[in-house]
Subunit: 283 residues, 2 copies
């Protein structure tokens, strides 16, 4: 099954194109999870709890690889365990690793991602679309970094080419061109794009350039993205979630008080609220 089709199914099941970001930081975990466990064990336990708490309400999870890699080999083992659990729970699994290599190395990253339980990976395209192809060959979906919302990104992504496009728009055109040869049955491409939620004017232009792409939209809620920003990115197919996958992390995974023993319930409530909010935006 192609990733783009899997994501359509997952969005329909959840009732909204929503994704929870698993960016676990040890200090923020519930006391009940931390007690008696080493760092990687606590993170695995916490993330598996979040997966179970949100699975009926979310289309996808996005695992921030750095948060796991931080803990070395044990952290990587925890990442694979969490991703496999999420896939088993019916969620689409996005590995947010922002890998960006070529040739044999890209092939190794792709093989590792597939074994880890991921269905798709975030990828940097600075080395060109050669970076992307090995992931597609492994049967994975890809979200190429096109336009991000951090302040420092403007210096690179908003730089203007001689032909009038920004660097971000040029990357969008590369994504659309490669993506056109990797379309699923629902009309979406397995080559998607990361488009930050806080650039709505540019977002609209990017949607024009990438009509067949899934947009992975990080930073909703606590990180500043608003409903208005999301609207700018929609592709006019509300039955498919508008082609956006809206991701929130902190506002969902830390929706409890530190000492709360029934923390999973607070996470479930936050997931339901997020799904309802995004469903209303998508229409």
């Amino acid at each position: 099954m192609m990733f783009s089709d899997r994501l359509v199914d997952a969005v329909r099941r959840a009732g909204a194109p929503v994704c929870v970001g698993l960016d676990p930081v040890l200090e923020k975990l519930p006391a009940a999870v931390r007690d008696g466990r080493d760092a990687a064990g606590a993170i695995a336990q916490f993330c598996r709890g979040v997966v179970r708490a949100v699975a009926p309400h979310m289309a996808a999870v996005k695992c921030q690889s750095a948060c796991f890699e931080r803990h070395g080999a044990a952290g990587v083992a925890a990442l694979w365990e969490v991703q496999r659990e999420a896939a088993g729970a019916g969620l689409a699994v996005v590995l947010d690793a922002k890998r960006g290599d070529i040739g044999i190395s890209a092939g190794h990253y792709a093989a590792a991602a597939r074994h880890s339980g991921a269905h798709a990976v975030t990828v940097s395209g600075y080395l060109g679309m050669e970076t992307v192809e090995p992931f597609l060959k492994e049967g994975l979906g890809v979200f190429v970094l096109v336009r991000t919302s951090n302040p420092g990104s403007d210096a690179v992504q908003a730089a203007r080419l001689g032909d009038g496009r920004t660097v971000g728009e040029m990357m969008a055109d590369e994504v659309a061109a490669l993506g056109a040869t990797h379309l699923g049955q629902q009309g979406y491409s397995d080559v998607g794009a990361v488009v930050g939620a806080t650039k709505s004017a540019e977002g609209r232009a990017l949607r024009g350039r990438m009509p067949r792409q899934w947009f992975l939209v990080p930073g909703y809620g606590a990180q500043g993205g608003t409903a208005e920003d999301i609207r700018a990115l929609l592709d006019g197919r509300p039955e498919c979630g508008g082609g956006v996958l809206v991701t929130a992390s902190r506002s969902v995974i830390y929706a409890f008080d530190a000492g709360d023993r029934a923390w999973e319930k607070a996470v479930t409530r936050a997931a339901i609220a997020l799904a309802g909010e995004v469903a209303a935006v998508v229409g």
Copy 2:
């Protein structure tokens, strides 16, 4: 000790600005290393043997993270083991991970890299120089991807901006600007650049824009880079290796016949040959 100063020392000790690339692929390892070991164990054993075989003749090693990550948690454990052995042997250790994230995530990647034994990391700057700063804060050096030699890179890195610069040159200017505030005692910056060996005309222009940068130059020898390509990148300071770190992988680490039990000797001979060749080019 700043990375840029560490690298000057290592280049002087080795007598040439040379680096061996550890890109281990299971199928290419000597039979004597593979026998009776699992994949990650064989790779660790092989790489530690290469480190011991080349340490007196090389300034640095560059570990291709993908080749280790391919084997999951055990592969990451092998990577850390190899890097710590290389650091202990007096080599400068570059983790070729091409990471490219921001904020807390970049901080996690940086912390992981430091714990892994690396002194420097390759980084993608597509998200801007925010990607780089967390590595510097951890006391690591950085090589930012500026211009690579793979065919597909032209579509992005050779695209021309309205002001006449290519995207690669724009990235070079970002590197030089950030790097100017992170200079070591020898006058080199801890913010270096990855510049492919097969683009000598562009390489000369890039050296003009980045006079204080260490250039990590992959792809020498088996992958097509020539002495002429290297000359274009030199900074006029032969006593510091000309500011280039020339990397070869396959021509050194696989310089043996498959059944050779004394394979380390062949690797040592290849390392000595590489160092002599590059020393002659640098002058």
